[in-house]
């Protein structure tokens, strides 16, 4: 056969098959090996109102299928952060001047305005590598590595997981452990606890870099209750130790009677803070416990996904999260998915508005609004569709609203009525594209 013209056998065979069967199918063969790579890409914009934080993030997750339930995942995230964020100081009826974290210049906030640090500008690159595979018929295991790098922060993490199926694969019990080592190398150095903010060029209040270690453990059970209902329950324990303070946040040092910040005069000829500010200091350990429950309910093409999380930690923060999504098909090739999320948290035990002059400093204190008492709601809509090439696209738009209250007993003198929680409105827009190769 090798000495015949190429394709001669195929052509003669096609003719012979046609006479044998009476006809040949109209459509020619279309067969290929299943694509091995799955790509999930997303471009996300997060923007807070009033020129606060803006984040643009590109996310690429590639998953290689090695058959027999063995997968390699590679993830890459690049995001850029710009904008201003509350620095922790309270409002004053006079302009306030602050030394920038770098210690090389100063900025001034007008009278009556919430002091924002507008020096935020960062680019972060993060990678993840994961491998999962079965161990025998019922066990499955996974390992992962994560790393990220930004100007002042480095993260390195390792994780492992193990799960086993029971009950004809209707029940899966899983456990996971993750450890991380993070390095803070703040601009201008990490401030010493409660160190005063100094004049531009004076770095006597800063030291070098610092680190923290995080250990996360999770155990969970997933149960297929019926053909329509899937439930999952997780308990997780997280312990962080080391430098947990935000090196860019500080508190105003105030007069115990008026509540006004103590004025300060920079050294002759120097630029520097107009008032007394003290860098914050958080405990060097935090232990969180979380309980998470999720139910997915399938009803004739629609999927309701409801979850609840309770978190409590030894910083006295308790939080509750309720998340609801309903995936609603629109014909065969598209769907919409409304999303609602409610969040509420109590403030940390050491959360305060200001430090009082002449009074012994507390062991820990922070005025970071993220450690305060607040509620948040997210409401959004996602629209997803299949392209003619079989890829999937989706567009998600959401609004986020965060409203907090400052406990009355934390407000002193003039702070009452002047100081309010820095509420936040943000929008989130995400474009996702999923394809296989």
């Amino acid at each position: 056969m090798a000495d015949k013209d190429p394709k001669s056998v195929s052509a003669a065979l096609a003719a012979a098959t046609c006479s044998l069967l009476g006809s040949l199918p109209a459509a020619p063969v279309q067969a290929e090996e299943e694509p091995n790579w799955d790509f999930n890409t997303a471009l996300l914009y997060y923007g807070e109102d009033n020129d606060r934080v803006q984040d643009l993030s590109l996310n690429i997750l590639a998953r290689r299928d090695y058959l027999d339930d063995r997968f390699l995942t590679l993830g890459l995230t690049i995001d850029t952060l710009t904008g201003a964020t509350p620095n922790g100081a309270i409002r004053q009826n006079v302009p306030q001047t602050f030394t920038r974290p770098s210690g090389s210049s100063a900025y001034t906030v007008p009278a009556g305005e919430l002091p924002l640090d507008d020096t935020f500008k960062d680019t972060r690159a993060a990678i993840t590598v994961g491998w999962e595979q079965p161990l025998g018929r019922l066990w499955k295991t996974g390992i992962g590595f994560s790393g990220s790098r930004e100007y002042d922060y480095t993260h390195l993490g390792l994780s492992g997981s193990l799960s086993r199926d029971f009950n004809k694969r209707n029940t899966t019990v899983s456990a996971g452990l993750a450890v991380a080592h993070d390095i803070w190398d703040p601009v201008g150095g990490a401030p010493l606890p409660f160190a005063p903010m100094l004049d531009v060029g004076d770095t006597g209040n800063k030291t070098g870099s610092d680190t923290k270690n995080i250990v996360d453990a999770v155990v969970g059970i997933t149960q297929v209750v019926s053909r329509r209902l899937l439930v999952q329950l997780n308990y997780s324990l997280s312990n962080a130790s080391g430098y947990l303070t935000d090196p860019y946040k500080f508190l105003s040092l105030v007069d115990g009677a008026t509540g006004d910040t103590i004025p300060r005069v920079p050294a002759p000829g120097a630029e520097g803070p107009s008032h007394e500010f003290r860098f914050e200091n958080r405990p060097d350990e935090r232990t969180k416990h979380s309980l998470y429950g999720q139910a997915k309910y399938y009803m004739s093409g629609k999927v309701l996904d409801a979850s609840y999380r309770y978190m409590t930690d030894d910083w006295d923060i308790d939080s509750h999260t309720v998340d609801l999504r309903l995936r609603w098909p629109l014909g065969e090739y598209s769907y919409i998915e409304p999303h609602l999320r409610f969040y509420t948290q109590s403030e940390a035990g050491f959360y305060t508005i200001s430090l009082v002059d002449g009074v012994e400093l507390p062991a820990h204190a922070s005025a970071d609004y993220r450690l305060g008492n607040f509620d948040a709601i997210t409401a959004g809509l996602k629209y997803g569709w299949k392209t003619s090439s079989g890829s999937e696209m989706s567009l998600r738009a959401e609004i986020y609203q965060q409203n907090g209250t400052i406990p009355g007993e934390l407000l002193i003198g003039n702070q009452v009525g002047r100081e309010t929680y820095p509420d936040l409105d943000a929008i989130i827009v995400q474009l996702s594209y999923h394809f296989s190769r």
């Binding site: 056998v9 003669a12 012979a16 006479s19 069967l21 459509a27 063969v29 279309q30 299943e34 065969e332």
Partner: protein
């Protein structure tokens, strides 16, 4: 020896986004995958498929004594006039014989008298092989449609064509009967009646290595056309460090050297796919070169 009626049952169960009809025919598990949720329809289609598969099995299996193949093989030199369908299969066999320079030969079945591929080391006596080969060869018989005459001692076996032919026959019938996509899968040789609507492809696992160095258990996506696999890595003999494949060259009576363990071919019909994979096996070392030259889609495992 006939097939007991109790073995001739069909069942239908739910699969992934389809209904799966099952039955056994031609010593293979048979599946009909139907892109529909209508169980009554699925049962009807499965029954139609099974009836046709059993009809072809009853008519052409060499294990059933009184069928047309049995009559031909026991005619002891007498000419036999055959029906149209049998005649078409014999014409097809004649074409394959010519196309393969005598490597594909439906009279080679008698070589089983001396060769038993059970993984052991019983290599037959060369003299015994030479004796049997005297009774092998399409050119030794007389075929003038519709009359076939074998020499005494010769036999024909349509097993190398029958299953693929049955898949195509059933696929043709189901394609006419129903507008939704159906996969007809007889023990791994399969055909798709038309492009599936919802999923756009059917996923099929094959036990073959890809030409580009893939792994066992490759998953293929097929939307139209057919697949067939030749070869069976469990059927071989081994002696003196030599592995004898069960693919016999009917011209010598000895195993083809360097035959791949299996070859899967994708083609417009299951019959074409099956013949191309068989011809590739018969090429031995040159299997891939042959398939490349023919420009077909294939996965070869060595």
């Amino acid at each position: 020896m006939g097939i007991p009626d109790s073995a001739r049952a069909v069942s239908v169960e739910a699969g992934q986004d389809c209904l799966v009809g099952r039955f056994a025919a031609m010593a293979s598990p048979c599946e009909i995958l139907i892109e529909s949720g209508d169980r009554e329809l699925a049962t009807h289609l499965t029954r139609t498929a099974a009836d046709e598969a059993w009809r072809i099995e009853d008519k052409f299996s060499r294990y059933i004594p009184d069928n047309i193949v049995g009559q031909i093989n026991t005619a002891n030199g007498r000419p036999i006039e055959v029906d149209d369908e049998t005649a078409s299969l014999l014409d097809f066999a004649a074409t394959l014989y010519d196309l393969s320079d005598g490597r594909f030969d439906i009279t080679s079945g008698v070589l089983r008298e001396v060769w038993t591929f059970d993984g052991g080391d019983r290599i037959p006596d060369p003299e015994a092989v030479d004796n049997v080969v005297q009774r092998v060869g399409w050119r030794r018989l007389s075929w003038r449609r519709p009359v076939l005459a074998l020499q005494p001692g010769m036999q024909i076996d349509l097993g190398g064509i029958g299953k693929e032919y049955a898949v195509d026959r059933v696929a043709g019938m189901l394609s006419e009967a129903i507008a939704c996509s159906v996969v007809v899968n007889f023990g791994g040789d399969l055909a798709v009646t038309r492009q599936p609507r919802q999923r756009s492809v059917w996923r099929v696992g094959i036990e073959a290595l890809s030409a580009t160095g893939g792994r066992a258990g490759t998953v293929l996506e097929i939307s139209t056309g057919a697949l067939a696999t030749s070869g069976d890595s469990r059927r071989f003999l081994r002696k003196g460090g030599v592995r004898y494949s069960h693919i016999l060259d009917p011209r010598s009576g000895w195993p083809v050297e360097g035959a791949p363990r299996s070859v899967t071919v994708a083609a417009d019909t299951c019959t074409q796919a099956g013949m191309l994979s068989t011809l590739a096996m018969l090429e031995g070392h040159a299997a891939e070169a042959f398939l490349d030259g023919e420009g077909v889609i294939y996965w070869c495992r060595r």
